[in-house]
Each structure stands twice: as structure tokens, then as C-alpha cells.
Amino acid sequence: MIPASFEYERADSSDHALELLDRHGEEAKLLAGGHSLLPMMRLRLATPAVLIDVGRLTDLSYVRDDGDAIAIGALTCHEDIKDSDVLKQHCGIVAHTAGEVGDPQVRHLGTIGGSIAHGDPASDLPTVMLALDAQFVVRSSGGGRTLAASNFFSGLFETALEPTNLLTEVRVPKLSGGWSYQKFHHRAQDWAIVGVAAVQHNGGAAVALTNMSDVPMRAAGVEQALASGSDAATAATEAAQNTSPPSDPFGSAEYRRDLAKVLTRRALQEAMSS
């Protein structure tokens, strides 16, 4: 199907994008790689009146070593993140997980900023961001602010971003320990039926879940069990606590709860052995 009509604007700079956002307000949507938005527009699940194309803002496509953190430009495509030596060295889970997104064609256009801003609980990178306590740098014409991943994902396709905001940078820590992202899917290119991210950092372990609620979520029960001395296999049995996974043709909610426990065990074992 073909999307409903809309007006198209192309931003030549971040400032220009912000100006266009202010001018068009809630009518407008930013277009980055278009690999979440255009499929939704083709199915007429989204019908924005104006698209503001930020795909040409190449100054927002980078991965940089920035002292204690790695800074990733919001317009960096999944393929560049997957291939980034800086990320492979300091925060391998981000490079690995970007390589698990979709297929090569999707990774050539889809961006990390789009993945995060879209707020889809079945997306892989938001879960990893949550496990890493990542920071998101956001601009509006009024100034800038930095949001913590833990306060960012507020509901199904809803985030803390306001309609006039541009996400410009994602900041992740340099990991001191092992990590794992376990993704269980149907066909190779598919979204996760369930995904589990586990990272060891500064002596603690963080675990986050994909597609187990209407937002990516931390597996608090697993983290508490680990903190109080449980081994990986025992802690993993807490993975379904407080979850509300969807039921769909790929799996019932009950199946997903079970899968979350199995994948959490595998993720913890892999993170702890590396």
C-alpha cells in the first residue's frame, strides 16, 4: 500500500530540523531511516501531515570515544554501529545487538535514534539501553536536556520525547564486565518474540527484557536475586515477575514468560563467563 498524502520537508541541519518542528508542531513527524515509520504509514497506521526528513544530518552519524562513555550520534545506522571498532572494544553488546536488528537492508537505513524514539517494546536496542543505564541527549529550540533510559520509555510507542524534540546523541558506558543479548525469533530477519540483555558492570549485574510488557523493562526480580547471592540459574527463574507479555501467533503470553526465564539463564551464563 501507499502512504496517505503528506507534506515533505528536508532539514539541512539540526537547527533547521528544530525550526521545522516548531513550525509544524504535532502535525509533523521526523523521518530518520524510515524503517519503522514508513511501514506504519504504508499500512495507514500512521498518517502524519508533515514529514521532516533528518536523514541527511550526517553530522549526527558517528561513534566516538568520549572519556568514560561512548557517544553515538542519533542518526548512526545499525550497520555502522554493528561494525564500530570503538563499540566492539568498549561496549560490545551495542554493536552485537545492532547486528541482530532486521536484515542488512534494514540495517543500512534504520538508525539507533529512530529505534529508541519509536518506543516499540519489541525493539532490541531500547532493551540494551535500559540494561546499560544509557543517557539520551535531546534538543529543542529552547535548549538541551539529557534523559536517562530508565525514565524514557513510558508506554506502547510512547517516550519522554515531546513533539518538538530531536534526539541527537546516545551515551553508553564503557563496560567493565561481560554481556549477552539473547534474541529468540521466528525467521532470521524477525523481531524478537522475547529478548534478554544482561550486562556486568562495576561489580553488579543488570538484566532487561524485550517484548515482555508494553515497554522494555528491567528484570528487577532477577537483579535482586543476583544481588542477594543467587546463582544465574536460580535468579533466572524470577524473570517473568511483573511482566505482561503479548499473545500473538508467534507465542502466547505463557510461552513468552517461560522463554524469558530460559533466555535470562542463557544471558546470565554468557555474560558471567566472558
Binding site: 501507499i2 496517505a4 498524502s5 515533505y8 523521518l31 514529514l51 536484515d103 542488512p104 543500512h108
Partner: protein, 159 residues
């Protein structure tokens, strides 16, 4: 309507398009390049794969206006003066197609893989094709064709 100018198969084009026009329909309907197929509504099948600035993309999930100033390569650019490209020849020789609907997309995805990766083993080829679905062949001969074309293209490049 909005003006776009882009290079398709080394020829420059300028046209007026509706912003909502998808690149694949621009190629097929405005330029008459019907080698690129449309096989789904959900960005999953890969039949519409082309190269955009040398990278494989699904042209059903790109707006024509997004392609402003880019270089597009479609399946029509591969055969030269009636001689099949090594990938086309290998698909032909190894029976890598039955109905042929997925073939243009498979070949364009494979062209990106061969050009942008060092020698690939069978596993890497299979993973590299995760964005392309084939309902007929069961993939085995597609993988064989890509292996054959890949070694021919490399030995040709080093000659």
C-alpha cells in the same frame, strides 16, 4: 509535487513526484524499470532490493524524495551488451530460480554482500540473505550461485 534528481544506472533523471511516492514505484512506473519487483506490503520480502549509493536497501521502504542526489543501481544495470553479469550467469547455471520473482532482489542483495565483504563462507551468505525470501527454491541453489559468482568475481578482480 516535488522535484527530485537522481542517478539511476549511471543515467541522470529529474522528475516531479508526490512525496508519498515510494522509490520502487518511481523506478517501475516513472522510469519503466520493471525488473525490481514488489512482493509484500510489510518490508519483509526483499524482492524490491536495489543499491542506494552502493548499499542494498528495500526500495519499497524509501520515498523517492529521500533518494534526491543519490546513485541508484537496479538489476537492469547488471548485464552488459547482452552478456549476463557473473551473478546472473551463476543463478542460471546452478538453477537458483524457479518462478524468478525473488531473483532480482536476491541478486542485488548478493551483489552488496560480495562487494562489501571479504570471502564469505556458506553461513555468512545465508545470514547475509536474511532480508530476502524465496518461496520456491529452498535457498540451497541460491547460496551455491552466490558462492560460484563470488569466486569468479574475485578472480576476475585480481586478474
Amino acid at each position: 509535487m516535488r522535484r527530485v534528481s537522481l542517478t539511476v544506472n549511471a543515467v541522470e533523471h529529474e522528475a516531479m513526484v508526490e512525496p508519498r511516492q515510494l522509490l520502487v514505484y518511481f523506478l517501475r512506473e516513472q522510469l519503466g524499470l520493471t525488473g525490481t519487483n514488489v512482493g509484500c506490503d510489510t518490508s519483509t520480502c526483499g524482492a524490491c532490493t536495489i543499491l542506494l549509493n552502493g548499499k542494498s536497501v528495500k526500495s519499497c521502504t524509501v520515498l523517492a524524495v529521500q533518494a534526491e542526489g543519490t546513485e541508484v543501481t537496479t538489476i537492469e544495470a547488471l548485464a552488459q551488451d547482452g552478456d549476463l553479469h557473473p551473478l546472473q550467469q551463476a543463478f542460471h547455471e546452478t538453477h537458483a530460480l524457479q518462478c524468478g520473482y525473488c531473483t532480482p532482489g536476491m541478486i542485488m542483495a548478493a551483489l552488496d554482500l560480495i562487494t562489501n565483504n571479504e570471502d564469505m563462507d556458506e553461513d555468512e551468505i545465508r545470514t547475509g540473505l536474511e532480508g530476502n525470501l524465496c518461496r520456491c527454491t529452498g535457498y540451497h541453489n541460491i547460496v551455491k550461485a552466490i558462492q560460484q559468482a563470488s569466486s569468479e568475481m574475485r578472480s576476475f578482480a585480481t586478474k
